[in-house]
């Protein structure tokens, strides 16, 4: 199979125009000392049907969300995608276009991104948003880098209630860029306010929390925000489960300066965790410091002055500002942003609230049922959204083996990142889990005892 349309005859004719007679002659600029003089050692070409069989078999080796009842969350959430979303998002005019450098023939993508920026602001309650970032983790980094500023030095304080993967990425970047990261412990599942207070100083560049945090617990922002703002720090909140914003206070309402996070679960496929959809929303004052693309509304130059959309404030970006750019990002996650935009339009104002309520209620139902089983107890007493930690009578590995036999994928094992949580399991219950699913889980848990 090949997507090269020109036949050998076509190519011969074109070579003749160039005064050449073979494709090999075109390679003369590549000196012999670096030429590869053997075929690449790769599997041979496959015809389309044979390739489909191969990949179909490979895909079938994975258990997917239709095969198993899953209670996994921990940063990646299963929210139902209305059919209308992929039907529109996957229209080839969106899919096969590049970054909209020529706005006159890219109004569709530009307008969709402008709508995305708006909707992100609508759910976060902040003033502006960008056109997307790689994922929630790198969005958090970008917020921290913005807070740190061009010097690249300084210190950020982060709650250990933030997703351990995100913190790992932060440490990786911090080491290279040269700034310090201080982690603040949690107490009863939420950021320890005393420790936070002790960690934040007048020179702290950023204070970063996650809401709800990695344990699903709802942070007490009323106590945190004044501490975050006692110096000149930028207060950054991270949202990995955007459905929470249907019922929980918006970052803009509780004093966050920047909200970052992950919107992949809104209208996109889970795809083993990527491509993801990082977002950043902020107060207007950070407009010219924002990383990544921004779409702005404008009008035609000509007399008609029709409304139109363009990439704007590009002097922030790498292709203009180069080493002094606010970020190195170029390719982002636009198509996923389109998906999230259509998703948010489809569920709408009312559906967004209902979504939050469904997740909250279903998770609390599951929590009540599970904590009623002898041997299973709640790890924390703090309020939570749609995830909660259960201490089980057996190790999560053993528990998972039992669950798997019943067609269930249990929760994440926080013990991997939090050494004192060895027998814990982090259950996630979104609106996609039915009462029947939950009851099945509960009945299996009942059978598993120490």
């Amino acid at each position: 199979m090949s997507y090269i349309p020109n036949t050998p005859q076509d190519q011969q004719a074109m070579l003749a125009t160039l005064g050449l007679s073979s494709l090999e002659e075109l390679l003369s600029p590549v000196p012999e000392n670096v030429r590869l003089r053997r075929p690449l050692d790769l599997p041979p070409a496959l015809a389309e049907p044979d390739l489909k069989r191969l990949l179909g078999n490979m895909a079938a080796k994975n258990k997917n969300l239709d095969d198993m009842i899953s209670f996994l969350g921990a940063g990646t959430y299963d929210h139902a995608v209305p059919s209308v979303v992929p039907h529109l998002q996957r229209r080839s005019e969106f899919v096969t276009s590049y970054t909209p450098y020529q706005p006159e023939v890219s109004q569709g993508m530009l307008q969709a991104i402008y709508e995305f920026q708006t909707m992100v602001c609508q759910i976060t309650g902040l003033d502006i948003a960008n056109a997307s970032l790689y994922d929630g983790a790198t969005a958090l980094i970008e917020a921290v880098l913005l807070a740190i500023g061009p010097g690249g030095r300084g210190e950020v304080v982060i709650s250990s209630g933030v997703d351990p993967q995100y913190r790992r990425v932060l440490h990786t970047y911090a080491h290279a860029r040269g700034f310090n990261v201080k982690e603040v412990p949690t107490r009863d599942g939420v950021t320890s306010v005393e420790d936070l207070d002790a960690a934040v100083s007048a020179t702290t560049a950023a204070v970063v929390i996650q809401q709800p945090n990695f344990f699903g617990c709802i942070e007490d922002i009323g106590a945190i925000e004044p501490i975050a703002h006692k110096g000149k720090a930028v207060f950054v909140t991270t949202i990995t489960e955007p459905a929470s914003l249907g019922v929980l206070a918006a970052p803009g309402d509780y004093g966050a300066d920047i909200a970052v996070g992950e919107l992949m679960s809104f209208g996109n496929t889970m795809s083993y965790g990527g491509p993801a959809l990082g977002f950043m929303s902020a107060r207007s004052k950070y407009m010219r410091l924002m990383p990544g693309r921004l779409v702005g509304q404008t009008v035609e130059e000509g007399g008609d002055k029709r409304t139109g959309y363009v990439l704007t404030l590009q002097t922030r970006e790498q292709h203009i500002r180069r080493e002094r750019a606010t970020s190195n990002i170029c390719t982002n996650q636009s198509l996923l942003a389109v998906g999230a935009t259509i998703y948010m339009a489809a569920i709408g104002k009312q559906g967004f609230r209902e979504l939050g309520e469904l997740c909250l209620q279903k998770a609390h139902y599951a929590y009540r049922q599970i904590t009623a089983i002898p041997g299973y107890s709640a790890r924390f007493s703090s309020p939570f959204f749609d995830e909660f930690v259960i201490t089980a009578p057996v190790s999560p590995q053993k528990l998972q083996r039992h669950l798997e036999q019943a067609g269930i994928i249990g929760g994440y094992s926080p013990g991997i990142s939090y050494p004192d949580m060895e027998n814990d399991m982090l259950f996630c219950v979104t609106e996609t889990r039915t009462k029947e699913d939950i009851d099945t889980l509960v009945s299996v848990l009942k059978e598993v005892q120490a």
């Binding site: 670096v34 970054t99 450098y101």
Partner: protein
């Protein structure tokens, strides 16, 4: 016909709905009993209130106001806008690939880990590298990852003070921006005005002056002028002699498949843009994937986890103590990787060689055919792309590269990359890719010649272009001067 689509926010009415939520099938409790009142949302997020038909028509119209490879020729230099095969899309949405959770047990994700494992092998072979991490989300992310690896390597050798990254003057903006993020200082290397390659004297001078502090050089080869730097082996030796590393920006890898390998050229690190070379669609800006390949000496520093295999099957291996850590959550843009895997298995070794040969042929053919009407920045044989200029048109008729780009839109084609690379005045960087027919190339040539003729005889039509697009030229200055980055209630679209 000119037209405007109002915003989704201007559509609908209070109470209108599209998708409905699943039934509340569990006993409920009062919200206040679960969430402290202070943490409850005060007002509903003011998302749109629209019906499904309104959504469908709105985004269908928006799609119709957008140009993609499926619409027509997209000669956007440096972006490798080749045809995005439909089978790739179908494979990526198989439930076994699309509906799996990044943290589910390895035993339930064997196919996914296998795909990543094998794709690593294929890319390692293509790059001539020891190992490849598929974690980076795009080219720029790969660049940063690569520079971090280089930094970790230097640090492990007690060379942590090395702080300079050499970057050619024609490099892409992400190169210096990534260097900054890795806390490196970018120093520009001049290119040779004749060969278009690195100015060897300048390079040597820079290496001499900064010998102890050179961390790396970042290069593309062929470079952004579409020219293969034939001195590459010598450059590698020179840089390595000072203790520096060589980073290969793989954005132009579509020119080298099966012809030459970054590893064999002497590079230590390479990134791929799978959304260019491996045909994964660019999605109007993303997603992409920017895997990083490295030579053996850099392997210990790779971010984790990495895919591995034993008798029981495939699994994820946590990185060792020297690892730089992690570049993002989870394992990378898996959906993009499925597409790239499909692509590589479609072509096989001979097919991939033919891809690059054909891309090079198409570029040289266009270059040859445009020579009569446009200046070509570097007249020698090019690789998969080349830079033409509007210098002649600018000088003689005040018609710029931008004007020509806009005029092209009137003929159902996208425009080349303009004003890049920065070192060429009035640059028009043209990359046809291998997936275009001879007839399309000929049509492009005929239009470009017509535009050159218009520049001579009727420059106004070019300078006021485009004429047939949904909107006319937009006021960029206004957008930047009075930024309007989001809709607010009351704001209205002008039609």
């Amino acid at each position: 016909m000119r037209s405007v689509e109002s915003l989704i926010f201007e559509k609908g009415a209070p109470g209108r709905r599209a998708a409905t939520m699943t039934a509340m099938d569990v006993p409920t409790e009062a919200l206040e009993s679960m969430v402290p009142t202070s943490m409850l949302r005060k007002e509903d997020a003011p998302l749109p209130e629209v019906s499904e038909i309104e959504i469908v028509r709105h985004y269908t119209h928006l799609s119709q106001r957008n140009f993609g490879v499926d619409t027509g020729f997209y000669p956007l230099g440096s972006c490798t806008m080749k045809y995005n095969p439909k089978i790739n899309e179908d494979m990526a949405v198989l439930p076994g690939f699309a509906r799996i959770h990044p943290l589910q047990p390895e035993s339930t994700a064997q196919g996914a880990i296998q795909l990543i494992y094998e794709l690593e092998q294929y890319l390692s072979e293509i790059a001539g590298m020891a190992r490849v991490t598929l974690q980076p989300s795009a080219g720029a992310h790969g660049e940063l990852t690569g520079l971090m690896l280089i930094k970790a390597y230097h640090e492990s050798n007690g060379q942590g003070h090395r702080n300079i990254v050499l970057i050619p003057d024609n490099a892409h903006g992400t190169n210096p921006a990534s260097a900054t993020l890795a806390d490196y200082r970018s120093v520009e290397v001049k290119s040779d005005p004749q060969t278009g390659g690195i100015d060897m004297d300048h390079l040597k001078a820079l290496l001499d002056a900064n010998a102890a502090n050179i961390a790396a050089i970042m290069m593309t080869n062929p470079n952004t002028l579409g020219l293969f730097d034939s001195k590459i082996a010598e450059i590698a030796t020179l840089v390595h002699e000072t203790g520096g590393q060589l980073y290969y920006d793989g954005a132009n890898a579509n020119a080298v498949l099966g012809i030459t390998r970054p590893g064999d050229m002497g590079f230590d690190v390479v990134h791929f843009n799978l959304h260019k070379t491996c045909s994964t669609p660019h999605g109007g800006g993303g997603p992409g994937a920017g895997p990083i390949g490295v030579k053996e000496h850099l392997v210990p520093f790779l971010p984790g986890p990495m895919p591995a295999k034993n008798e029981q099957g495939y699994y994820w291996e946590d990185p060792g103590a020297q690892s730089i850590g992690k570049m993002r959550a989870n394992k990378g843009n898996f959906g993009v990787l499925v597409r790239a895997y499909t692509y590589l298995r479609t072509y096989g070794p001979d097919g991939l060689l033919h891809v690059s040969q054909s891309a090079i042929l198409n570029a040289n053919y266009l270059k040859h055919e445009l020579e009569s009407d446009y200046e070509i920045a570097y007249p020698q044989m090019c690789q998969h792309e080349f830079v033409a200029t509007a210098e002649r048109q600018k000088e003689e008729h005040d018609v710029t590269a931008l004007d020509i780009a806009k005029r092209l839109l009137d003929f159902g084609m996208y425009a080349p990359t303009v004003y890049f690379p920065l070192i060429v005045h009035e640059a028009m960087m043209i990359e046809p890719t291998e997936t275009e027919t001879r007839e399309t190339l000929d049509y492009f040539v005929s239009v470009m010649r017509q535009i050159a003729e218009e520049a001579r005889t009727n420059p106004e039509i070019v300078k006021t272009a485009p004429h047939t697009t949904p909107v006319g030229r937009l006021d960029q200055a206004l957008a930047a001067r009075k930024p309007n980055l989001r809709w607010t209630a009351g704001q209205e679209t002008t039609h």
